[in-house]
């Protein structure tokens, strides 16, 4: 209860590769500032004692200034400040330049008042908790369902605002197993300080063990078997979940592959091979189809009408498709290769091995212990 019985921490843990790079810059600036501050304080103290009024009748000197000194103390601080800027920009580059190997394992986080929903690359969902494997770089993409939040992990020296209506991202390479704080750093209302969680960094062995434990081995095995025999996304994966939604929301009422037995032509453009291609719009613009494009196309379709097609698509607001749903749909659309788009009004295939009534991702998430405010949420 009383933290001050133990020695309190004085600097945060370094649990990622970036944290080490960050701290070098932090201590460099600290050293320069300490030196500069000491110089000012030293001179100030010297003057305050040396020139304090004494009994002797000294006269103040009449000194108006010195251009030489002005130039010196303009240029020297400026050079140091610029060194902060240059080094700071390099560190910033590292922070936002997501390496390709991290982009391969993409986590999604969705902030909402006042919780974090996290979905890992295999489709596993956790609340207020993110589980990572030590030494494996990952990308984390975030958005918000309501107000602006901020996904911050001090031990990784990482933080980014999750903003409704757009995707923002960061990446980590955890370097030390342990449990760390996850904070919401952007004020988001009453439960702002309850919007905390934990970051589990596991060793490779622990991570595999945890993963199989949580996935229920039989289900995984069945899914793996299916993957060998049939095409399509792995059961339980985000793309698979996206396909379920694609049928449930009747996207394939318009976006479909024309069947040999059904003469109805598609009412909307095909979604196969769409990812990262240039799309020509009816208002003359050309846009690259990234996740923001797909998201806008679902939430607010009139903004992106393909040239040659009519604006007939209804808007899917948050009541119909949550942010996580959109992330799953994006994963599915991303996976569509020629021939993958279903026929008109085709029903979704039943998953193998899993009980279809609840979506398999809704495996009970591990109980959220919500560590920082363990006794929080007072009264």
């Amino acid at each position: 209860m009383f933290g001050f019985m133990e020695m309190p921490p004085v600097y945060p843990e370094q649990a990622s590769k970036f944290a080490i790079e960050y701290d070098w810059l932090y201590w460099y600036i600290s050293a320069v500032c300490a030196f500069g501050g000491a110089a000012v304080y030293g001179l100030l103290t010297y003057c305050c004692f040396k020139f304090a009024k004494s009994d002797t009748n000294t006269r103040p000197q009449r000194i108006l200034g010195s251009n030489k000194l002005e130039i010196i103390w303009t240029v020297i601080p400026l050079l140091f400040f610029l060194s902060f800027f240059v080094w700071g920009a390099r560190v910033w580059d590292t922070a936002i330049g997501i390496p390709p190997e991290a982009a391969k394992r993409e986590y999604f986080v969705v902030g909402k008042q006042w919780m974090w929903k996290v979905q890992d690359p295999d489709g596993l969902r956790q609340i207020n908790e993110i589980t990572l494997e030590v030494g494996v770089p990952v990308k984390v993409t975030g958005t918000s369902e309501d107000v602006i939040h901020d996904f911050g992990i001090p031990a990784f020296r990482s933080k980014f605002d999750v903003v409704p209506g757009r995707y923002t991202a960061a990446w980590y390479e955890p370097s030390k197993p342990g449990t760390y704080h996850l904070f919401c750093d952007q004020y988001c209302g009453q439960g702002h300080s309850q919007m905390v969680g934990k970051v589990n960094v596991l060793t490779s062995d622990q991570y595999q063990e945890w993963k199989t434990g949580i996935y229920r081995t039989p289900f995984l095995a069945a899914a793996a078997m299916k993957n060998e025999t049939t095409k399509g996304p792995l059961d339980g994966s985000p793309a698979w979940r996206g396909r379920q939604l694609f049928h449930k929301l009747q996207c394939n009422g318009c976006h479909f592959t024309q069947s040999p037995d059904d003469p109805t032509p598609p009412k909307a453009p095909t979604l196969e091979n769409l990812w990262m291609t240039k799309r020509e719009l009816s208002d003359g613009r050309t846009i690259g189809a990234n996740e923001d494009y797909i998201r806008t196309a679902i939430r607010n379709p009139t903004e992106h009408v393909r040239s040659g097609w009519k604006a007939i698509m209804p808007a899917f607001h948050t009541g119909l498709a949550t942010e996580l749903d959109i992330i799953d749909l994006t994963a599915y659309i991303r996976s569509l290769k020629p021939g993958d788009l279903p026929y008109r009004n085709e029903k979704s295939p039943t998953p193998i091995g899993g009980a279809p009534k609840a979506s398999p991702g809704a495996v009970d998430p591990p109980k959220n212990q919500n560590p920082p405010a363990a006794d929080g949420g007072k009264k």
Binding site: F4, P8, Y11, V40, R62, E70, C184, G191, Q194, P372
Partner: protein, 591 residues
């Protein structure tokens, strides 16, 4: 009417001065003369006489009462906040009570204290006096700005009474526009209206400095406080309308849901942040620049020195005012702002740090070779330099893109801006208030108590916010009523020191009030200062000076003994050099 008599030394100063004031001071009054004297406080001393006054000094005094009340209110709010943070689960407040308390602290302290305090009180009172004018350029506009401010402040008071606001002073949408059920509209109205007061004051000061300087008061002889107020006024004039626009947009959004900031219908919440910080970053310079101006006056007086590098200090104020408009994006590095945009803002932020550094170096150099005495204003001014240096240096961590990632929105930010806004501005305000109190009231406050209070405030303040740098680096986010237990010790330290600081800030209320009734008569110029505002009686006459002063010297000639002996020669030289040069030049004030 325009006075045509300068104060010729027909009755030469009684004693030979060991410094050189900017103009010839009037002779000291005998006690009998002083007792029967009519001055700005007792002339027409009726309620209406005060409420309908157009005297800039009375308006300044009314501002003083107003901002002091709101300072007390803001301080009570933060007392609740700090007390609540003693335990990790919140000692006294519920979650939304806490959110309302810190929002009340932020909005009151910023919009009703820090922004109006120096322009409203000291700017109003002393800018005309320092340039030898009888009043502001637009005395009625000046009164109007006071009432507009008071009217706007009423909305804040009402908003607090009907349940408060919980958005933080930054009012970020979509939280403020769509999700908060508190009184965003009333607070927005308050911000909108007080903004006009700020604009009017700025306009008035700019016009006054341009048009009302007395003969001989050239731009190069302006006291640096006037330069700082001038730069501040330019920012107020250019920045505040943008805030007004932003608040109106947010209000329209909240009332009609038109979707400028609402992402679900195609708006962009980050647009609000751009517009908000376009004003609110320059606004921190509205708050700090006048403080820096005060420090110039106090340091030179108590060190008996010319300011080191007058031009450098004056132009650094202007530099801050200009570049300060171009750095707002450093508040938004992590808000999804574009990469190159962030680069530009980070670069300009490093540039804007330089003028502040120049000022600190010049102040330190000013002390060199002086003869320093340590009365309360000087202790506050030195406290300012020490604390503002910490605030400025820690700002570099936040302006550097790399380091801002981890420190953004943590207690490191809180500690940083309190070191500049309180450690800087609040101590500058205390320095200015104590420096000019004898002139404003004619009374001297207790030397012992004022020094003690200064030391208690400085020590209490420093100890309150130092632990917050550590806990911020550890990652404790701001605006958290509940926090992980390992941060507790830092919060307890901080709260304990906050109580000490609170005691320090209560003390002036007592000894300054007591000085009004029991204080010694201050005399015209108790600190032997050179500025024009001291070359008249205390408290000043209703029109400031017995006759329009004529300026012969720069503002800080503490090192030149008895330069006034030269005044006759200077006058003769002026007359010979330019027969057109007359005593009335530059004086355009009517009535």
């Amino acid at each position: 009417m325009v006075s045509t008599t300068t104060m010729k030394p027909d009755a030469p100063p009684v004693e030979k001065l060991d410094y050189t004031p900017q103009a010839v001071p009037p002779p000291e009054l005998s006690p009998e003369q002083a007792r029967g004297r009519t001055h700005y406080l007792n002339a027409d001393n009726t309620l209406l006489g005060w409420l309908l006054t157009v005297d800039h000094k009375r308006i300044g005094m009314m501002y003083l009462v107003g901002v002091s009340l709101f300072f007390a209110a803001g301080a009570i709010a933060v007392g609740l906040v700090r007390t609540n943070l003693i335990t990790p689960t919140g000692a006294i407040l519920e979650l939304d009570q806490y959110n309302k308390a810190f929002t009340a602290h932020g909005t009151i302290m910023l919009f009703l204290f820090l922004i109006p305090v120096v322009p409203g009180v000291l700017g109003n009172f002393f800018v005309p006096m320092m340039i030898g004018a009888k009043d502001m350029a637009f005395p009625k506009l000046n009164l109007m700005s006071l009432y507009v401010w008071a009217f706007g402040a009423l909305f804040f008071v009402y908003q607090l009474m009907v349940g408060g606001l919980d958005t933080g002073w930054t009012l970020y949408p979509p939280y403020s526009t769509k999700y908060s059920h508190t009184n965003v509209l009333y607070a927005g109205l308050g911000i909108f209206i007080t903004g006009f007061s700020s604009i009017l004051t700025g306009l008035n000061i700019i016009a006054t400095v341009h048009k009302m300087r007395c003969p001989g008061m050239t731009w190069g002889r302006l006291p640096l406080f006037v330069w700082a107020m001038y730069a501040t006024s330019v920012i107020q004039l250019l920045g505040t309308p943008v805030l007004a626009v932003t608040v109106v947009m947010a209000a329209v959004e909240k009332l009609f849901g038109i979707g400028i900031f609402d992402p679900t219908i195609g708006g962009d919440p980050v647009l609000f942040q751009h517009m908000f910080w376009f004003y609110s970053h320059p606004a921190v310079y509205i708050m700090i620049l006048p403080g820096m101006g005060i420090i110039n006056e106090v340091l030179t007086c108590f060190a008996r020195k010319n300011i080191f590098g007058y031009a450098a200090v004056a132009w650094s104020s202007v530099g801050i005012a200009v570049v300060g408009f171009l750095v707002w994006g450093h508040h938004m590095f992590l808000a999804g702002q574009g990469y190159y945009l962030s680069m530009v803002f980070a670069f300009l932020t490093m540039l804007v740090a330089v003028p502040s550094a120049i000022k600190v170096f010049n102040w330190t150099a000013t002390l060199y070779g002086g003869v320093i005495t340590y009365q309360a204003p000087m202790i506050h001014a030195l406290g300012f330099i020490v604390l503002f240096t910490v605030g400025g240096l820690t700002g570099l961590f936040l302006g550097t893109m790399g380091t801002d990632i981890h420190l953004h929105d943590t207690y490191f930010v809180i500690a940083h801006f309190h070191y500049t806004m309180v450690g800087g501005m609040m101590f500058a305000w205390q320095a200015g208030l104590h420096f000019w109190w004898p002139k404003m009231t004619g009374r001297m406050y207790s030397d012992f108590w004022s020094r003690l209070a200064a030391i208690v405030m400085i020590v209490g303040f420093a100890l309150t916010f130092l632990p917050q740098f550590v806990v911020g680096y550890l990652g404790m986010p701001r605006r958290y009523p509940n926090y992980p237990p390992e941060f507790q010790i830092y919060n307890v330290m901080s709260t304990a020191a906050a109580y000490i600081q609170g005691i320090g800030f209560i003390m002036p209320a007592f000894y300054l009030t007591a000085s009004l009734f029991f204080g010694k008569s201050a005399g015209n110029n108790p600190y032997k200062a050179t500025g024009l505002e001291w070359q008249t009686h205390s408290p000043p006459d209703a029109h400031n000076f017995p006759a329009t002063p004529r300026v012969y010297f720069g503002p800080y000639e503490y090192g030149v003994p008895d330069g006034l002996a030269l005044v006759d020669k200077l006058d003769a030289a002026h007359a010979a050099a330019n027969s057109k040069y007359s005593a009335t030049e530059g004086v355009t004030s009517g009535s």
